[in-house]
Structures are given as structure tokens and as C-alpha cells.
Point group: C2
Chain length 375, copies 2
């Protein structure tokens, strides 16, 4: 044998049918490292957005009760307190809670910020809150399915007049050009070439014919190299068409049913002369608008769109096409997009693209269907 | 957020207190990829040893009933059948069992090899077996703790006169020289330098003093860079002292208690002129000797020792020292070694070294104690 083994504490089955031990072992434990917290705290776009959402709207926080869902190192809870909150409940599922507690104390806020170790589904608060602040966004917004927990917190603990920080979220999709595809094709092909050398050897030296496994092996490698979306920070000039919104979420009213899947039919018109449609990029933005009763004085946006100088640790998710259709300025790409949670792991996603080209000139190619996995 | 999420099915707590769902999610799932099976099947040292253990001792298999624990792709079960076994039970916990079944059929052995999907702890056989064959060895032999399952299989299903393949295993330790240490020190130092830049920024731009987290961050990074053993295929000339055996296992009689931990006090004399003791390498070998009642005609050895041309996918585990003591030919290094399973994950290990130098000439330095983690 000889393989990788991951860590993680024991578990029990939680009421949503997801094994909690597995979820802790696989998900929460990734957030229990300061190194990983630091990576997020070094994301200037992320930090500036939340910092300004709090301090440019100080008056929203003064004298208020705040709940921070998944506080991690405690930064959002500390800012809320510094902005004048009367009380901040900072909930963290991992042992990171201990570091958050130290940090709160070192910044002289132990009188205001109360760090609670536990999942927001399990904890109990002595009062309802005016504001729920949380950085719950995963790759392409919904990966990690953490907003489920924010919804639970909101429905249990937010006052009817309360505000969500962020208050709104959107998912975007756009056609792109990229060199990533050729790379992946090469990796896939050398992997399958190598497989055939392996078949010959196993047959010659060890008397076993493994060719029956060729199909499943190629399927496995195809999924890994060609059907798994790729993290990338794209340059804006790699966008070759008009980005479209495929999902809008009002964080104050959204239900889990609403975010279980994403279905959208959009059309993107190509903005570039003769080029190749290499695939699509998916990203998100969120907005901090406060609530109807207490709107933010200054609306803040956090965007993870392709940017020359303001990339984020979220980057974009890239979905590659093989082969890459020819497109030109004025052509329309009709995209029917659907995303669902994977059955094996509710924090991962399965995506399906249906594509139709409407060329300005010449014949329209056959519609394309392709499935992807967001791992 | 934005982090890695691993897969894995749901689970229940098994009687040994280890959450089975977590164990599947973290451990077994790594073996459910053909790519990973291929890596093991491409290890010529591993393949040749098992192939010869079976076919150089054909007469041991003719007309016998065999159990393969953790058959993976099914290769050992197929060889056992090809060598003349009357019946082979091939047990595999993951979906790889389906591929094994196809492979057995494609090689015309479905009449002899019965692939059973399940853990060996849970399955039931209609008869006792003459031979248990299994490739259960993890990095440094005991990582993965898979031999526990082989012991269960042996105590339940092996006839009193039965034989284990392999029949014996040994763990080795030797002093080495390597450049890996400087590399790791550099990585550690640039990581902590970067942390201090991060502290200044967070303080200046975001008004939070994170210095209280410096100690835990450095401890985390120290564990990662300097206390975690490293996989490496060393060249024999990197050994600077006589290797010593720290554990011997008779696979026919060993109990789980016997392998829960490893305790050894050995002395290694340095064989090289003036050099640095950069650390230690740990590896294992196993032997195929059959049993007293039916000894193998030809004893086969599978060794993962440093080798110029016969490296394995197990390589060696390298434990680095900082600083690196000066040693010279004839000096003795007294090593008190202990290894235990980690409390968080019984398939990972925690190692402690106690070191004393006996220099031929000059003063002996202070004894050294160092803790390592085999992740």
C-alpha cells in the first residue's frame, strides 16, 4: 500500500443525514490551521471589503448585538466590536476558536466579543441579534455549502429587523480564452499513453491482461484532467464575451432549497474578433447594503471577477471545452447552466453546460453538452 | 472561505472506537482510484517480490484456499489462482472491488477467485483458508495500521496449519546525510519572516494586533516543516552509519498490542569520516517464508532500503535533525526510538528520538530529544 491519510476527529450522524465526523474530518479541519487563516487574512480584496463594510457603516454597528458565523481567527468579530457593537457572539466550529479567544483578549475586547466553540446549528445564544456577519463564500460562491449554516443562524437568531453582512450575492459566468486547455489535454494524453505501456508490461512480465480496465481508467483520468473545473485568476483580457448573471441571492430571505441547485439560461455575445471559445469562467460578487430598516450608508462590493491587480484567493472556476469552437465578434453563445451538489459530498458541486452557437455568418455547429465537477 | 474539501461516504462508529465513516472518507477512498492502483502496480520491486513469492513457490498454492486482504485491483488473488489455488477469496473495502471482479473475469478466473466487497472485519467466509496473502505495508511499515485488519482476518479465517504471505516483517533505522534539512529550514524561515510582514500589515491597515498568534503560528509551521517526516528515495551513499533493526514481526503470531507501538534502543556506529548527522532514515523489509508446516521452497525478500536502482513507492521516511551534530568514523550514536499511533488518527504515527553521541575523540555533546510526526 502506501498512500495519503488525512486527519480528523470521530463523528456522529447529524439530523441532515450528513455524517458529522466525516464533515469535520474533511471540511472543518482545513480551517483549523493558522496558515490557512493567514492566506484568507492576506486577501486584500476580501479584507478591504469587510473592513469598509463595517467601518464605513459604523453607525449600523454602534450599540448593536452581532453574530459572526464561522469567525475563524475572529477578525470580523473584532472589527464589529471596534466599530461599536455592544455584544458580539463569534461562533467557530474548530479549535481555531482558542486562537480567536486569545486574539480578542490581546486586543482588549474580551468584554464585548464572546467566542463560542461549536457549530452554529448546535450552539445557543441568550438573545437575538441585530446583525449577522459572516464570510461564508466558497469557490464559485456555493462550493462548501456553508451558507446553509448562515441560513440556520439567521432563522434562529436574527431579529425581524436585523441585517445580513453581506446582504446580497450573485454568480457570474462568461466565455473565455485560455491556454489551460492544451496543457490539460497533454496531461491527459501522456497519462493514457503511459497506461498502455503499463498494460504491455503487466501482460509481458506478470501474465495478467489488464486491458479491461482501460475504459474505466481513461474515464477516471478524463474526469480528473478534462471535467474538473480549474482554479485560476484570469486576466480581464481573457474574457471574450459579455458576462451574465446566473444566480442572485438575497441573504435575508434565501432558503436552502433556493441554493440547493442553480439553473440558468443566458446568452453571451462574443466581443472579440475571430477566436476560440476555450471555455467559461465562473465567479461571484457579494454586496453589503444593510437592511431596509437600516440601510448601509455606503454600499460595499466584494467582487472576485477577473482583475488585473485585484485577484482574490477565490480566483475564478474555469470550465474547459474540448474541442474549442471557433467564434467571432457578434456571435451569440446560448448557455443553459445547471449546478447541483454532489451526492457523495454535499460541499462539492456537479455542473452541466448546454451550449448553442448563433453565428453571425455561416452555419451553426451542433449543440454541445458537457458535465463538470467542482472538487 | 475557499478551501479544499475531501470526499467520502457516511459512517457509523465501529467497535474499536474509530468512526468508520471518517475512516472510509479519509483512508479507504484513496484506494478507490485506478490511478493510485496503477502507481502500486508499477512498483517493480513490489510486483517482483509478490510475483516470485507466489510463482517460485507454486506448490504451496496448488489446490489451496487463499484469502487476499485488501485485494485492490485483484492482482495477488489472480496470481494465487494462476499458481493453482483451488479457491481465492479477494476482499476489498472500496468500489475498486468492481474493477477487480472485471479483471478476474477478463483473465478467465471467475471460477476460482471470488471478489467480496466489504471490510475484512465485516465479511463472512464459508470456510477457513490455507494462505492469507496481503500487501498491507504502509510507509515505514506500520503507517495506515492496515496490519490490524490482517490480524483480524488471520485469527478468524486462517487454518492452524496456515501460512501468511508475507510471513515476517522488520523495521530499520540508520543515520544519514541529506540536503533536505537546509531546504526545510529555509522554507520555515521564509514562512515566519512572511508572518511578521503580515503582522505589520494587519496592524497598520486593519487595526488588529495579531502578535499573540506568533507563537502558535511558528509552532504550526515548525511541526509542518521541521517535525514531519519526509518521503524520500535515498541513495545508499547517503547512509553514514550501520543500519539497525528496531522491530521484528512474525505475521503468524503478532497481536495488535504488539504493533500498537514500537520501542527500541539501538546503537549505530558511524562509517564515514568527518560528516554531519543530518537525521535518520526509516524503512522496512518483509520476507516470504511460508510456514513451519509448509515452508517456502525459495525465500523471497521485499526490501524498501535505500537502493541505487531499486527504489520503491514506499521510499524511506526521513527524520531531520536541526542543528546537525558533527560525527566521524567510529563514533557511536545511541538511539532510543519510540513510535505510537496519533490520538487524532490511528493510521498516522508520532515518533520520538532520544540521541546520545559517543565520540571516539573529544567531548560528547548533550543528549538530544526530538519528536516527529508521520503524516
Amino acid at each position: 500500500m502506501g498512500s495519503s491519510v488525512n486527519g480528523g476527529p470521530g463523528g456522529r450522524v447529524s439530523n441532515n443525514g450528513v455524517d458529522k465526523g466525516v464533515d469535520f474530518a474533511n471540511y472543518f479541519c482545513t480551517y483549523s490551521f493558522l496558515y490557512h487563516q493567514k492566506e484568507m487574512l492576506c486577501d486584500r480584496v476580501r479584507m478591504d471589503a469587510y473592513y469598509n463594510a463595517v467601518f464605513q457603516n459604523k453607525e449600523q454597528f454602534v450599540g448593536k448585538v452581532v453574530l459572526d458565523v464561522g469567525t475563524g481567527s475572529g477578525i470580523l468579530a473584532i472589527w464589529s466590536a471596534q466599530a461599536g457593537a455592544k455584544k458580539v457572539y463569534a461562533v467557530e466550529a474548530t479549535k481555531m476558536s482558542e486562537h480567536a479567544r486569545e486574539l480578542v483578549k490581546a486586543n482588549g475586547l474580551e468584554g464585548v466579543v464572546e467566542v463560542i466553540e461549536g457549530t452554529v446549528e448546535d450552539i445557543n445564544l441568550p438573545e437575538k441579534v441585530d446583525i449577522i456577519i459572516s464570510e461564508w463564500m466558497g469557490y464559485f460562491l456555493l462550493r462548501e455549502s456553508m451558507f446553509d449554516s448562515v441560513i440556520v443562524a439567521r432563522d434562529r437568531w436574527l431579529k425581524p429587523t436585523g441585517a445580513m453582512y453581506p446582504s446580497h450575492a450573485r454568480m457570474w459566468l462568461a466565455p473565455i480564452k485560455t491556454g489551460l486547455g492544451d496543457q490539460r489535454i497533454n496531461d491527459y494524453e501522456s497519462s493514457t499513453d503511459d497506461w498502455h505501456r503499463f498494460l504491455d508490461e503487466t501482460n509481458t512480465y506478470y501474465g495478467v491482461d489488464m486491458s479491461v480496465l482501460t475504459r474505466p481508467f481513461c474515464e477516471e483520468q478524463n474526469k480528473y484532467y478534462l471535467q474538473t473545473s480549474i482554479w485560476n485568476n484570469l486576466h480581464p483580457h481573457q474574457l471574450i464575451g459579455i458576462p451574465g448573471i446566473i444566480k442572485e441571492i438575497d441573504c435575508l430571505t434565501a432558503t436552502v432549497e433556493e441554493i440547493l441547485n442553480v439553473r440558468a439560461n443566458i446568452s453571451s455575445s462574443i466581443t472579440e474578433e475571430k477566436t476560440r471559445l476555450c471555455g467559461f469562467a465562473g465567479w461571484f460578487d457579494v454586496h453589503f447594503r444593510g437592511s431596509k430598516q437600516s440601510p448601509a450608508r455606503l454600499e460595499i462590493e466584494l467582487t472576485t471577477a477577473p482583475s488585473e491587480n485585484n485577484g482574490t484567493h477565490w480566483g475564478q472556476q474555469v470550465f474547459l471545452l474540448h474541442p474549442t469552437p471557433r467564434v467571432g465578434k457578434g456571435d451569440d453563445v446560448l448557455i443553459s447552466f445547471s449546478m447541483d451538489r454532489s451526492k457523495e459530498n454535499h460541499r462539492l458541486m456537479e455542473v452541466e453546460f448546454g451550449l448553442e452557437m448563433r453565428h453571425l455568418a455561416g452555419r451553426n455547429p451542433q449543440p454541445i453538452k458537457k458535465k463538470f465537477y467542482i472538487e
